[in-house]
Subunit: 153 residues, 5 copies
């Protein structure tokens, strides 16, 4: 199995490195790293990773800024990532941390790494242990901050 | 007939299980279950269910959170589900429950199950009894909360 | 000529029936009816009508609710209908009536039927009498409520 | 060279006629006219003009109303026009005048014609004199109201 | 290597010229220039540069106005540029400067040139030195105004 990890120079935390480290803890996989300037460059990077570099699944990591304009960039990037998945029939796990989700730089760094790591686990499950995800269906999982949990206790 | 049922670990109610149960009450169909992390992972899952696992129709179930950012995720997922249908010429019944549609966890659990079940009925009609839907045209049907009914009484 | 008429069980007026009735008044055409649950199911229904059931043109009729969430559904459906047209090189006449366009149920019923009928005329013109539309270019035509008319009197 | 000119019956000014007149002043070109009900019908009309009627370039002219709902229609139409260009590798010059850009009907009529005429010039340049556009790069050109001009005087 | 540089006559600064100048400082590359009226014309121009004029990568430069309507145009253009990249598997570096990012014409001119130049560097790195970008992953790079820097100091 080969996992593509694409991230950005715009992000203020090395989310790609955290993802790579966590992937290696959970599975013996080949990893292809690809860094682009910003989140809007991620969709085509993911497509190249899948179609030209043989990746079975891709993690796309980014950190949009906190302004309205940044939210729109993230929206465009997300649409592109979904479109890319539909064109390739491969999953791309989007790992975006919005700068305004955290109260300060310290929490931002923690959140970005934590979310990257938890989504690395999801990435491995999607490819190698899909039944593990079916068991978690409807349980209110979150990545980074704590789980919401099921509505029925 | 084979029905794909894809849902998420993000949802706080096991909507996929409710859909499967209801589908079995209405028709003798094969069912393929697929669970992904969140709603933005549903479009490609639906495409894989149709193109690689032979499903004739798919139910895509999810529960977006109540924040602005969550609404945007749901919007992106919906666009992807429509695009997927256009690429495959197969119906995907979207069953989304927004967390803020319900006043508390108890109602949320009821609403999510109820909507999943009523859309399971629609799914069976679309494939096996399309004439039943023509008879309901313009009658203000709703899934979950009560029907709006026709404008002319 | 074969006209596809797709509408929804969500709508509170039988817009499809009004469209079919009006189409028959203006031209001798075969009609294929297709009813789906909601507006987001219309794009793929229109595509199936064009590609699998031989329709030359399609009318897609729906009645989005008055809430913000409903407007977003209508937006997604509209994008899908445009995409479908680009994929097939066939026109799809969108006939949407937003529930909040009318002041009460009575006006809503009138508006939905009237708009369906006037767009049925446009549908026939697009296929059989395109020159009739060129003659109306820039004249401020509206469907349902009264025409806006030309800016120069 | 063949230029497609598609416009709408919804517009309150005959923008298509103005475009055709101006195109003829600047170049000896064949012109194909296509009128549709509203702006959301323009993308497929443009595609048909390019793929089935041999147009080298298309002008798509429309006049969205001033309400929020109308702005959304224009947005959907614009997305479709861009998608159409990407599918065909042909330019489509969008000429939209929003009804609320003008203070009264008289200015609206002037603006719609003026913008149509200035974009007709751009259309000819794109096909026949691309170097003329390179010379104008970054000079703050506008169509209709006066140019913004370069930031450095 | 051949780099496409497409820009607009709408912009108030000759961003294309700045990009060309900077590209030449960093690499010995062939350059293909393409100027269009506005940002919504950029996606198809970029596609033509890639598919018909042999460009390996494209810079798409534009300057949307400061009004809501302009922001929507930029959004549509951005979506088209992402879609174009997915259709061609080639990067397009979007360099947009919103007129309201700068406090006056002087700063606007400086910002537009500076951003064009810094993205020209990114363009060269993406094609010739992808490892240089991996080294900058998560370091909070910005183009134009000063870098945000990493969250961990």
């Amino acid at each position: 199995m080969k996992v593509g990890v694409c991230d950005t120079t715009f992000a203020r935390v090395n989310m790609g490195a955290a993802a790579v480290d966590e992937l290696r803890r959970h599975a013996s996989v080949a990893i292809e790293r690809y860094t682009v300037p910003g989140v809007k460059d991620l969709p085509v990077a993911a497509k190249i990773l899948i179609e030209e570099r043989g990746c079975d699944i891709v993690m796309a990591l980014g950190m949009p800024g906190g302004k309205e304009k940044d939210r729109l960039c993230a929206h465009e990037a997300s649409q592109g990532l979904i479109q890319c998945q539909l064109m390739t029939n491969h999953h791309i796990i989007e790992v975006f941390v919005h700068e305004d989700e955290a109260k300060d730089d310290k929490e931002l760094a923690w959140l970005a790494e934590q979310r990257a790591r938890e989504h690395a686990e999801n990435t491995v499950k999607l490819i190698l242990r899909p039944d593990a995800l079916i068991k978690e269906a409807g349980t209110g999982q979150r990545q980074g901050f704590e789980d919401a949990g099921p509505a029925r206790h």
